[in-house]
């Protein structure tokens, strides 16, 4: 089997980090209790509760 060079490993790591970082950040901030996207105010699942209560959202998902 061929071995990955350090260059190959670096490009894979950085490449996939670039592709996935925004999504990971988005998931983390969905547990933010603050209304602002950028300010962290503590862990909470309140936005998931809001989502369950919002019928327009649920209808759109179907």
């Amino acid at each position: 089997m061929r071995r990955l060079t350090w260059f190959n490993t670096t490009s894979l790591t950085l490449g996939f980090a670039f592709l996935y970082l925004p999504m990971v950040i988005l998931v983390i901030y969905s547990f933010n209790s603050s209304k602002l996207v950028t300010v962290w105010a503590g862990f909470s699942t309140k936005w998931y509760g809001e989502l369950m209560r919002n019928e327009a959202f649920l209808d759109a998902a179907w």
Binding site: R2, N8, S11, L12, G15, L21, I25, L26
Partner: protein, 296 residues
């Protein structure tokens, strides 16, 4: 007969879903704006027969195209779109090629997983992924907070609402479209060619430029087209990330259509955009064909 049917299907598809809509858009681009539904004149009235038809033809003109030539805004928007599309295609290639290359270097058992990882971002909404970048690049966003926490910058960098944010957004969104065709070109590459090159005294880097790179040309070209063409008319990314500082023809077209409700002018913008895209593609294909003929 069967062969005819086989050829007819794609041609019918193109005719119905490309040529007919284009003809309609072209007709609207020759019309004049009017306060009616739909908001342009003339409209073809078949009840008036031949006379109505000649009157209809007589009312069409190239006024909208003349207007596009006169006003600086459109000319600048086309140029700026071309520039942004060219630079972002180049950046996407620069980032995408090493990733695609490393994917083919990874062991067989890793490849399906890596391929899946490239495709997976499509499963979430494109809009949400672009929106996430607003949170990252903003003045109090994730990036600036990290940089300031590490002490690398003392003041927040202004990235959001500048062309840099647009480039980041475009490269991020279209990266999979560049990786996939290059990956499929590189995967088919015969490894014995590289071994032969090394046996004949090539260093690994020279072997890459003399063997691997030319053989992946098809993938590179396909990837560049797949990135360049949608980027040229891109509307969502510049409006979300570029603010008012980035001029792109997609945004101009949107404003003409939805804010000014000037359908004829918007159609003229679209027709010229299509010409800008089609002419180089035709020239390129002709060049390719000539090369193939001279080689064969």
């Amino acid at each position: 007969m069967r062969r005819f049917a086989l050829i007819a299907i794609p041609y019918f598809w193109l005719l119905a879903l490309f040529l007919v809509p284009f003809a309609i858009v072209f007709k609207i681009s020759l019309s004049d704006i009017a306060l009616s539904i739909p908001p342009y004149l003339p409209q073809l009235d078949l009840a008036k027969g031949w006379e109505g038809f000649t009157k209809f033809l007589g009312a069409l003109d190239f006024e909208n195209f003349e207007f596009l030539m006169m006003d600086d805004l459109y000319y600048k928007a086309y140029l700026s779109s071309l520039k942004i599309a060219a630079i972002s295609t180049f950046l996407t290639l620069l980032i995408g090629y090493p990733i695609a290359y490393a994917m083919t270097r990874a062991g067989e058992e890793w490849r399906p997983t890596l391929l899946m990882l490239v495709i997976l971002p499509f499963w979430t909404s494109f809009l949400i992924r672009v929106y996430a970048w607003i949170g990252i690049l903003g003045q109090e966003g994730f990036l600036n907070q990290t940089l300031m926490f590490l002490g690398l910058t003392s003041e927040p960098l202004i990235i959001l609402n500048t062309p840099i944010a647009v480039y980041i957004g475009i490269v991020y969104t279209y990266l999979p479209f560049m990786i996939l065709p290059i990956y499929s070109a590189l995967e088919k590459l015969d490894n014995s060619l590289l071994e032969a090159a090394e046996d004949l005294g090539c260093s690994r880097i020279t072997a890459f430029w003399l063997v691997t790179f030319p053989l992946s040309r098809g993938g590179i070209i396909a990837g560049c087209f797949l990135v360049f063409i949608p980027t040229l008319g891109e509307f969502v990314i510049p409006s979300l990330l570029g603010g008012s500082n980035t001029l792109m023809i997609g945004k101009v077209l949107w404003d003409e259509f939805f804010s000014n409700r000037d359908w004829p002018l918007a159609s003229a913008v679209a027709v010229i955009l299509l010409l800008i895209l089609i002419i180089p593609i035709i020239l390129f294909q002709r060049n390719e064909q000539k090369q193939r003929e001279s080689e064969g």
